[in-house]
Protein backbone atom coordinates (compact mmCIF):
# COMPACT_ATOMS: atom_id res chain seq x y z
CA UNK A 1 0.00 0.00 0.00
CA UNK A 2 1.36 3.37 -1.08
CA UNK A 3 0.29 6.99 -0.62
CA UNK A 4 2.02 9.86 -2.36
CA UNK A 5 1.33 13.60 -2.31
CA UNK A 6 3.33 15.43 -4.95
CA UNK A 7 3.45 18.50 -7.17
CA UNK A 8 4.88 16.57 -10.15
CA UNK A 9 2.79 14.68 -12.65
CA UNK A 10 2.65 10.87 -12.47
CA UNK A 11 2.89 8.09 -15.05
CA UNK A 12 -0.42 6.29 -14.49
CA UNK A 13 0.49 3.36 -16.75
CA UNK A 14 3.73 2.70 -14.89
CA UNK A 15 2.05 2.96 -11.48
CA UNK A 16 -0.79 0.64 -12.51
CA UNK A 17 1.63 -1.94 -13.91
CA UNK A 18 3.57 -1.93 -10.62
CA UNK A 19 0.39 -2.99 -8.85
CA UNK A 20 0.19 -6.35 -10.60
CA UNK A 21 3.75 -7.00 -11.74
CA UNK A 22 5.08 -10.26 -10.28
CA UNK A 23 1.72 -11.02 -8.64
CA UNK A 24 0.37 -14.22 -10.17
CA UNK A 25 -2.61 -14.21 -7.80
CA UNK A 26 -4.05 -10.95 -9.14
CA UNK A 27 -6.89 -11.23 -11.64
CA UNK A 28 -8.24 -7.67 -11.55
CA UNK A 29 -6.85 -4.14 -11.42
CA UNK A 30 -9.28 -1.22 -11.24
CA UNK A 31 -7.95 2.32 -11.61
CA UNK A 32 -9.38 5.80 -11.38
CA UNK A 33 -7.70 8.89 -12.82
CA UNK A 34 -9.13 12.32 -11.97
CA UNK A 35 -8.38 15.20 -14.33
CA UNK A 36 -8.82 18.99 -14.35
CA UNK A 37 -11.81 19.95 -16.50
CA UNK A 38 -11.94 23.32 -18.26
CA UNK A 39 -15.55 23.80 -17.11
CA UNK A 40 -16.95 23.38 -13.60
CA UNK A 41 -20.49 24.30 -12.56
CA UNK A 42 -20.76 26.51 -15.63
CA UNK A 43 -17.52 28.43 -15.08
CA UNK A 44 -14.62 28.32 -17.54
CA UNK A 45 -11.60 27.17 -15.55
CA UNK A 46 -8.17 28.31 -16.71
CA UNK A 47 -6.22 27.02 -13.72
CA UNK A 48 -6.67 25.03 -10.53
CA UNK A 49 -4.66 25.33 -7.33
CA UNK A 50 -4.71 22.51 -4.80
CA UNK A 51 -3.89 23.15 -1.16
CA UNK A 52 -3.63 20.39 1.44
CA UNK A 53 -2.86 19.79 5.12
CA UNK A 54 0.60 18.15 5.22
CA UNK A 55 0.74 15.38 7.78
CA UNK A 56 -3.00 14.89 8.02
CA UNK A 57 -3.35 14.20 4.28
CA UNK A 58 -1.02 11.20 4.32
CA UNK A 59 -2.71 9.75 7.42
CA UNK A 60 -6.16 10.29 5.94
CA UNK A 61 -5.29 8.52 2.68
CA UNK A 62 -3.58 5.64 4.51
CA UNK A 63 -6.69 5.27 6.67
CA UNK A 64 -8.89 5.15 3.54
CA UNK A 65 -6.75 2.32 2.12
CA UNK A 66 -6.91 0.47 5.44
CA UNK A 67 -10.69 0.77 5.56
CA UNK A 68 -10.89 -0.61 2.00
CA UNK A 69 -8.59 -3.51 2.94
CA UNK A 70 -10.76 -4.29 5.96
CA UNK A 71 -13.91 -4.42 3.82
CA UNK A 72 -12.73 -6.15 0.65
CA UNK A 73 -10.28 -8.84 -0.28
CA UNK A 74 -7.74 -6.74 -2.15
CA UNK A 75 -4.00 -7.27 -2.62
CA UNK A 76 -2.47 -3.88 -3.39
CA UNK A 77 -3.68 -0.29 -3.32
CA UNK A 78 -2.13 3.00 -4.35
CA UNK A 79 -3.20 6.64 -4.06
CA UNK A 80 -1.27 9.47 -5.71
CA UNK A 81 -2.66 13.00 -5.33
CA UNK A 82 -1.12 16.12 -6.78
CA UNK A 83 -1.03 19.53 -5.09
CA UNK A 84 -0.03 22.95 -6.36
CA UNK A 85 -1.07 24.63 -9.60
CA UNK A 86 -2.62 22.57 -12.40
CA UNK A 87 -4.03 23.29 -15.88
CA UNK A 88 -7.08 21.84 -17.64
CA UNK A 89 -6.53 18.20 -18.70
CA UNK A 90 -3.78 17.76 -16.08
CA UNK A 91 -3.95 14.62 -13.94
CA UNK A 92 -4.97 15.29 -10.31
CA UNK A 93 -5.36 11.90 -8.68
CA UNK A 94 -4.74 8.20 -9.29
CA UNK A 95 -6.44 5.52 -7.20
CA UNK A 96 -5.69 1.96 -8.19
CA UNK A 97 -6.54 -1.35 -6.54
CA UNK A 98 -5.62 -4.93 -7.38
CA UNK A 99 -7.14 -8.19 -6.19
CA UNK A 100 -8.18 -11.66 -7.20
CA UNK A 101 -11.67 -10.73 -8.42
CA UNK A 102 -13.15 -7.76 -10.25
CA UNK A 103 -16.20 -7.12 -8.05
CA UNK A 104 -14.12 -6.40 -4.96
CA UNK A 105 -11.55 -4.35 -6.88
CA UNK A 106 -14.30 -2.15 -8.42
CA UNK A 107 -16.00 -1.63 -5.05
CA UNK A 108 -12.76 -0.85 -3.22
CA UNK A 109 -11.61 1.65 -5.86
CA UNK A 110 -14.92 3.55 -5.94
CA UNK A 111 -15.14 3.50 -2.13
CA UNK A 112 -11.65 4.98 -1.88
CA UNK A 113 -12.55 7.80 -4.29
CA UNK A 114 -15.81 8.56 -2.46
CA UNK A 115 -13.97 8.70 0.86
CA UNK A 116 -11.10 10.73 -0.55
CA UNK A 117 -13.59 13.29 -1.91
CA UNK A 118 -15.20 13.81 1.50
CA UNK A 119 -12.44 13.11 4.05
CA UNK A 120 -8.98 13.85 2.68
CA UNK A 121 -7.87 17.44 3.48
CA UNK A 122 -7.47 18.91 -0.01
CA UNK A 123 -9.01 22.18 -1.18
CA UNK A 124 -9.35 23.42 -4.76
CA UNK A 125 -9.25 27.01 -5.90
CA UNK A 126 -10.30 27.75 -9.47
CA UNK A 127 -9.14 30.59 -11.68
CA UNK A 128 -11.94 31.75 -14.00
CA UNK A 129 -12.51 34.88 -16.13
CA UNK A 130 -14.41 36.27 -13.07
CA UNK A 131 -11.38 35.79 -10.82
CA UNK A 132 -10.30 33.14 -8.35
CA UNK A 133 -12.65 31.29 -6.00
CA UNK A 134 -12.60 28.31 -3.69
CA UNK A 135 -14.54 25.32 -5.00
CA UNK A 136 -17.60 24.48 -2.88
CA UNK A 137 -18.02 20.95 -1.53
CA UNK A 138 -20.79 19.03 -3.33
CA UNK A 139 -23.73 17.34 -1.64
CA UNK A 140 -23.54 14.65 -4.36
CA UNK A 141 -20.12 13.70 -2.97
CA UNK A 142 -21.59 13.36 0.53
CA UNK A 143 -24.37 11.21 -0.92
CA UNK A 144 -21.83 9.03 -2.76
CA UNK A 145 -19.98 8.50 0.51
CA UNK A 146 -23.16 7.70 2.46
CA UNK A 147 -23.89 4.79 0.10
CA UNK A 148 -21.10 2.82 1.74
CA UNK A 149 -23.04 2.97 4.99
CA UNK A 150 -20.39 3.58 7.62
CA UNK A 151 -20.28 6.12 10.43
CA UNK A 152 -18.35 9.35 10.18
Amino acid sequence: MTVRIQTEDFDAGFEISQLHKNHKDIGAVVSFIGLVRDMNDGDAVSQLTLEHYPGMTEKSLASIINQAKARWNIVEALIIHRVGTLQPSDQIVLVTVSGAHRGEAFAACEFMMDYLKTEAPFWKKEATPQGEHWVEAKSTDDAARERWGMGK
Binding site: E51, Y53, I92, T118, A120, P121, W123, W134, A137
Partner: protein, 85 residues
Protein backbone atom coordinates in the same frame (compact mmCIF):
# COMPACT_ATOMS: atom_id res chain seq x y z
CA UNK B 1 -2.49 24.96 28.21
CA UNK B 2 -0.84 25.56 24.88
CA UNK B 3 -2.16 24.29 21.55
CA UNK B 4 -1.03 24.67 17.95
CA UNK B 5 -3.60 25.97 15.49
CA UNK B 6 -3.75 25.63 11.70
CA UNK B 7 -6.14 27.26 9.23
CA UNK B 8 -6.61 26.15 5.63
CA UNK B 9 -8.10 27.33 2.34
CA UNK B 10 -10.74 30.08 2.63
CA UNK B 11 -10.21 30.34 6.41
CA UNK B 12 -6.47 30.86 6.07
CA UNK B 13 -6.99 33.48 3.37
CA UNK B 14 -9.69 35.44 5.17
CA UNK B 15 -8.23 35.24 8.69
CA UNK B 16 -4.75 35.90 7.30
CA UNK B 17 -3.40 33.22 9.61
CA UNK B 18 -2.01 29.87 8.57
CA UNK B 19 -0.74 28.77 11.98
CA UNK B 20 -0.34 30.07 15.53
CA UNK B 21 0.48 28.85 19.02
CA UNK B 22 -2.32 29.65 21.43
CA UNK B 23 -2.28 29.93 25.20
CA UNK B 24 -5.59 28.90 26.71
CA UNK B 25 -6.95 28.95 30.28
CA UNK B 26 -6.44 25.58 31.99
CA UNK B 27 -10.06 24.47 31.87
CA UNK B 28 -11.95 21.83 29.87
CA UNK B 29 -11.92 22.87 26.22
CA UNK B 30 -13.93 21.60 23.25
CA UNK B 31 -13.81 22.48 19.56
CA UNK B 32 -17.00 24.53 19.95
CA UNK B 33 -15.62 26.45 22.96
CA UNK B 34 -12.40 27.11 21.04
CA UNK B 35 -14.39 28.47 18.08
CA UNK B 36 -16.32 30.79 20.43
CA UNK B 37 -13.06 31.90 22.04
CA UNK B 38 -11.51 32.74 18.65
CA UNK B 39 -14.73 34.39 17.39
CA UNK B 40 -14.25 37.12 20.03
CA UNK B 41 -11.19 38.36 18.11
CA UNK B 42 -13.52 40.32 15.82
CA UNK B 43 -15.97 40.35 12.93
CA UNK B 44 -14.15 38.24 10.41
CA UNK B 45 -13.31 35.61 13.04
CA UNK B 46 -16.91 35.32 14.13
CA UNK B 47 -18.11 35.12 10.55
CA UNK B 48 -15.60 32.47 9.62
CA UNK B 49 -15.88 30.23 12.69
CA UNK B 50 -19.38 30.79 14.07
CA UNK B 51 -21.22 32.07 10.98
CA UNK B 52 -23.05 30.43 8.12
CA UNK B 53 -20.00 28.73 6.60
CA UNK B 54 -19.49 25.09 7.31
CA UNK B 55 -16.25 24.65 9.23
CA UNK B 56 -14.66 21.29 9.85
CA UNK B 57 -12.09 20.64 12.56
CA UNK B 58 -9.29 18.15 13.10
CA UNK B 59 -7.43 17.34 16.32
CA UNK B 60 -4.02 15.76 15.81
CA UNK B 61 -4.89 15.00 12.15
CA UNK B 62 -8.22 13.29 12.89
CA UNK B 63 -11.54 14.79 11.77
CA UNK B 64 -13.64 15.61 14.85
CA UNK B 65 -17.02 17.06 15.84
CA UNK B 66 -17.72 20.30 17.70
CA UNK B 67 -17.93 18.50 21.04
CA UNK B 68 -14.48 16.86 20.80
CA UNK B 69 -12.14 17.64 23.72
CA UNK B 70 -8.90 19.53 23.25
CA UNK B 71 -5.87 18.81 25.47
CA UNK B 72 -2.60 20.54 26.17
CA UNK B 73 -0.17 20.11 23.25
CA UNK B 74 -2.85 19.23 20.69
CA UNK B 75 -2.65 20.31 17.08
CA UNK B 76 -6.05 21.72 16.09
CA UNK B 77 -7.01 22.68 12.53
CA UNK B 78 -10.00 24.52 11.07
CA UNK B 79 -10.92 24.31 7.40
CA UNK B 80 -13.86 24.27 4.98
CA UNK B 81 -15.37 20.97 3.76
CA UNK B 82 -12.74 19.25 1.63
CA UNK B 83 -12.79 19.37 -2.19
CA UNK B 84 -9.95 17.16 -3.42
CA UNK B 85 -9.93 14.30 -5.90
Amino acid sequence: MIIKLFYFARLKETLKYSTEDLNLPDEPMTVLKLKAFLAKRGDVWGEMLMGKLKVRAAINHELVDDNASISNGDEVAFFPPVTGG
